[in-house]
């Protein structure tokens, strides 16, 4: 076994806050060998990124390394002064950030940023540096690099930018790369390519890679070794196969269990039971006083015909001068009463736009939406308000979907107040009840959103959505911003709603495994067009279109999982 390029010994990071000393990382130790990829996995706040920052010496003050040692190629670096640390940074250790959109300086060409880094570390002449930079761009598979060299970041797509970032990381022939959630912001297809690239480069250049991620799928596909972190501590580490194959620690088990499986459809999502995070969702009580009287005549609740949406791409005074971009192009499907209809597709495929048109948030440019036999497009104000009473929406980002300046009570009450469904006196108790049902403590009523975790906020949104006892619920990527464990809880809640209350749902997601678990039927969208619509199982077993097949292939899997594990999950 070769010597580790980087070894972290008993690393502890502390942040002095007004409420005492907070330790985001405690006694973490691990090694990275040349050409090896170590995945560091855990939920947000587990301290995985903090470790990476500590290694590269980029902790934002007042955070500091309080204990432990960091050794790089046999030399201790945690105690070096700022200047020496700087030289190592981007030299022997390079870094890749999560969001390619923000990690490049918008005012400099890609070339300038590459050349400056290369010259800094390798001291080449500008012409040499330039040719080297172009070579790098070519290496990270950016088509016609000579031309791209002179372009600005905003002229690159997300995936391309992340490749540029990688190229930047490679400028100085580093021996270690810290990649912090390098693919989280990317679409599945891009994600796969970028991960492959990283793998390949690690092997080829014998670079040790620390791959920080929350995605078990990524771990499974990419890493050799895994470190599982929980609340600042390492709970378990070892080779990827053994961690995924035979996890010993409870947390690891639950974490793995929580990952949605594309292969099989399970009744419920296995929830992370570790640390007693689960909070009860009292669906029965909710179901008791839910009025289910209204069922649609036809059996089809929502009918979408030739739906089209165009956005202004280039404005001008003369209509003739304006140019448009078609986000949704002649999309047609229908949703039966009480079914969960899924829409999958990559970002920009127009799935969210469809959702927002159904929710009357966007005006429709073409086609019709029919709800329970009534044509929504072209309703007058009164009918619209009646329609809105029956539909509700759950948004992707639990942080922006709740007004930070309104108390949770007011937020949940707002629909009731607006639609005058209850008298002032009744509203209060009703809201409290709702909050209690979705599993929030009674004091939630007075609190403000920022006092809740992401999962809890999603519960608040659900409470708000249920306030009007809607018939149709639109879920726009409801869990993509959450950790796996929380994701499981929320998805289960949605399942319950659908089963016990007979809610009809439109479920938007880019995450195929989740879709497989949630939906009865699925539509696949690409560039504003609906590629195919099928029963979920049929779609996953025998996709009709190549695009769907492609998507399915790219889907990260946990092959290492043995059949019996799945069996045991099934129960």
């Amino acid at each position: 076994m070769t010597e580790p390029v980087l070894s972290i010994r008993n690393l502890t990071v502390e942040i002095p806050t007004r409420r005492g000393l907070f330790k985001p990382v405690q006694g973490v130790s691990y090694d990275i060998r040349p050409g090896e990829i170590r995945g560091v996995v855990g939920e947000s706040g587990a301290g995985k990124s903090m470790t990476g920052n500590a290694v590269i010496g980029l902790l934002d003050p007042p955070a500091r390394v309080s204990e432990g040692e960091i050794w790089l190629n046999g030399r201790r670096i945690d105690q070096l002064d700022a200047e020496q640390k700087r030289r190592i940074r981007g030299g022997e250790i390079a870094m890749i950030f999560q969001d390619p959109l923000t990690s490049l300086n918008p005012l400099f060409t890609v070339g300038e940023q590459l050349v400056e880094t290369i010259q800094l570390h390798l001291g080449l002449s500008s012409s040499e540096a330039q040719s080297r930079a172009i070579a790098l761009l070519d290496r990270v598979r950016i088509p016609n690099p000579e031309e791209r060299f002179h372009q600005y970041p905003h002229q690159f797509s997300g995936g391309m930018r992340q490749r540029v970032v990688i190229a930047l990381a490679l400028c100085s022939e580093p021996s270690v790369i810290v990649a912090d959630e390098p693919t989280t912001a990317l679409d599945v297809s891009i994600q796969a390519q970028v991960l492959d690239l990283i793998k390949e480069l690690a092997r080829e250049r014998q670079v040790g890679v620390i791959l920080v991620t929350h995605d078990m799928g990524v771990i499974a596909d990419t890493t050799d070794e895994v470190t599982v972190m929980y609340e600042g501590r390492v709970v378990e580490q070892g080779t990827t196969s053994q961690i995924l194959g035979a996890p010993t620690h409870e947390y690891t088990k639950s974490l793995i269990a929580a990952v949605p499986r594309p292969q099989v459809k399970l009744h419920r999502f296995p929830q992370v039971s570790y640390g007693g995070r689960e909070t009860a969702f009292k669906i029965e009580d909710l179901a008791r006083n839910w009025d289910r009287s209204t069922a649609s005549k036809s059996g089809t609740l929502v009918e979408v015909k030739g739906l089209t949406k165009r956005f202004l791409a280039k404005g001008a005074i003369l209509p003739s001068q304006r140019s448009y971009f078609t986000a949704v192009d002649d999309v047609s499907f229908d949703i039966k009463d009480g079914e969960v209809f899924g829409l999958v597709g990559e970002s920009g495929s127009g799935k969210s736009t469809v959702a927002r048109m159904l929710a009357t948030l966007y005006p429709v440019d073409g086609g019709t939406v029919t709800f329970d036999g009534e044509e929504v497009t072209g309703m007058d104000a009164k009918q619209l308000s009646a329609y809105r009473k029956q539909i509700q929406m759950i948004f992707q980002d639990p942080f922006s979907s709740l007004n930070p300046r309104m108390s949770v009570g007011d937020i949940v009450a707002e629909p009731l107040v607006h639609h005058k469904l209850l008298s002032r006196a009744e509203i209060g108790p009703r809201v409290r009840e709702l909050l209690d049902r979705v599993g929030l403590a009674s004091d939630a009523y007075r609190k403000y959103p920022h006092e809740f975790s992401g999962g809890q906020r999603q519960r608040i949104s659900i409470a708000r959505a249920l306030a009007t006892q809607p018939r149709f619920l639109i879920c726009d990527e409801p869990t993509s911003a959450l950790d796996v464990s929380i994701q499981a809880q929320i998805l289960n809640i949605l399942k319950d709603l659908q089963e016990h209350l007979g809610l009809t749902m439109l479920f938007i997601s880019h995450d195929l495994p989740v879709v497989r678990q949630m939906c009865d039927r699925v539509g696949v969208m690409r560039q504003g067009k609906l590629v195919e619509v099928q029963e979920t199982s049929a779609l996953f077993e025998a996709p009709k279109s190549d695009y769907t097949r492609e998507l399915l292939d790219l889907m990260p899997r946990l092959e290492q999982l043995s059949e019996e594990q799945i069996a045991e999950l099934r129960t």
Partner: protein
């Protein structure tokens, strides 16, 4: 890019028209020139005759349009007070104000940006906080008071610098400059400081906050992660991004410097358009006032147009967009 410029120019013209209207309507209220133009023993006929000659008896709208069409040809009429073409007087006075404004503008921008960057980088340093606090005194004292105190200190008590006027000027073509003579430069110091101080503090504080904003961005952290030194990060990457929002504000500031010069010029008896304007107001010299206001707005609009273009040049995203 071109269409962008064309659009802005169009808007600018619109702005000018409205400005002209407001400017002009102002004068119907500030007094009556006749009494100033006639002496102690004037009679009613004199007044009426003069009124008619000046067209002051015409309805306001008529006066305005006459003014507009004249102004369009660069003809702002004859000054009631000096009996000379206003354009000529302006040409004569403009250099003084422009030089003053330029010097204090440069002062404000250079010092402002410099100190702003410094205080941003050394955010918690003693020096930085000191500068921030002192700078506040700058914005907390009325300009006129600063001017008077400076005069009292440097010309009366110490006798180092002239207390008023522009010193020796040299004529190059139609332009009279005080840059080429010692006395001219000495005379510039106090007024320039008085005028520039306020703008400087504003710019400095703005640069600071914008820079702090930028320094928190990912690409700055990434730049550091690439091992770039503080100097490169701060002055190459951060500063350029800071300038994007700052430039617009600086534009507005420069625009207002020329207007603010009114106060400074009164205190220092600086022979510029500001002083001209104050005299004009006291004398109700309507053509001069009108011309002055048009001049101000033209400069203001021009500067901002320039800024917009500069803006587009710095920020590639905008370039692509337009």
């Amino acid at each position: 890019m071109l269409s962008f410029i064309v659009k802005r120019v169009g808007q600018s013209v619109l702005v000018l028209l409205v400005t002209g209207l407001v400017a002009f309507s102002m004068f119907t209220f500030v007094g009556d020139p006749i009494d100033n133009m006639l002496g102690q023993e004037r009679t009613m006929e004199d007044v009426e005759r003069l009124r008619a000659q000046l067209g002051l008896d015409k309805p306001f709208v008529v006066q305005y349009f006459r003014f507009l069409e004249q102004a369009a040809q660069g003809n702002f009429g004859i000054s009631y007070r000096q009996g000379r073409p206003v354009a000529e007087i302006l040409m004569e006075r403009a250099p003084a104000t422009l030089e003053l404004a330029a010097v204090s503008g440069v002062l404000a921008i250079v010092m402002g940006i410099g100190l702003g960057v410094f205080t941003a980088i050394r955010r918690n340093g003693v020096a930085a906080n000191l500068i921030m606090s002192i700078s506040l005194i700058g914005v907390s004292l009325p300009t006129f008071l600063i001017g008077i105190l400076l005069i009292y200190l440097f010309s009366v008590e110490l006798g180092w610098l002239p207390s008023f006027g522009r010193g020796e000027t040299v004529h190059i073509g139609g332009w009279s400059t005080g840059f080429l003579t010692e006395s001219g430069l000495k005379a510039l110091i106090l007024p320039a400081i008085t005028l520039g101080l306020y703008q400087m503090t504003l710019i400095m504080r703005l640069v600071r906050s914008e820079m702090l904003e930028v320094l928190r961005q990912d690409y700055i952290r990434f730049a550091r992660a690439r091992g770039l030194g503080d100097r490169v990060v701060n002055f190459r990457h951060a500063l350029k991004n800071t300038m994007v929002p700052v430039i617009t504000v600086i534009g507005l500031q420069l625009g207002s410097i020329i207007a603010f010069a009114i106060i400074t010029e009164t205190v220092f008896q600086w022979p510029g358009v500001g002083l001209l304007f104050i005299n004009a107001i006291q004398f109700v010299d309507i053509p001069v006032m009108a011309a002055y206001l048009m001049l101000i707005s033209v400069m203001f609009v021009a500067i901002n147009l320039l800024v917009d273009i500069l803006y587009a040049m710095i920020d590639p995203r905008l370039r692509a967009a337009s």
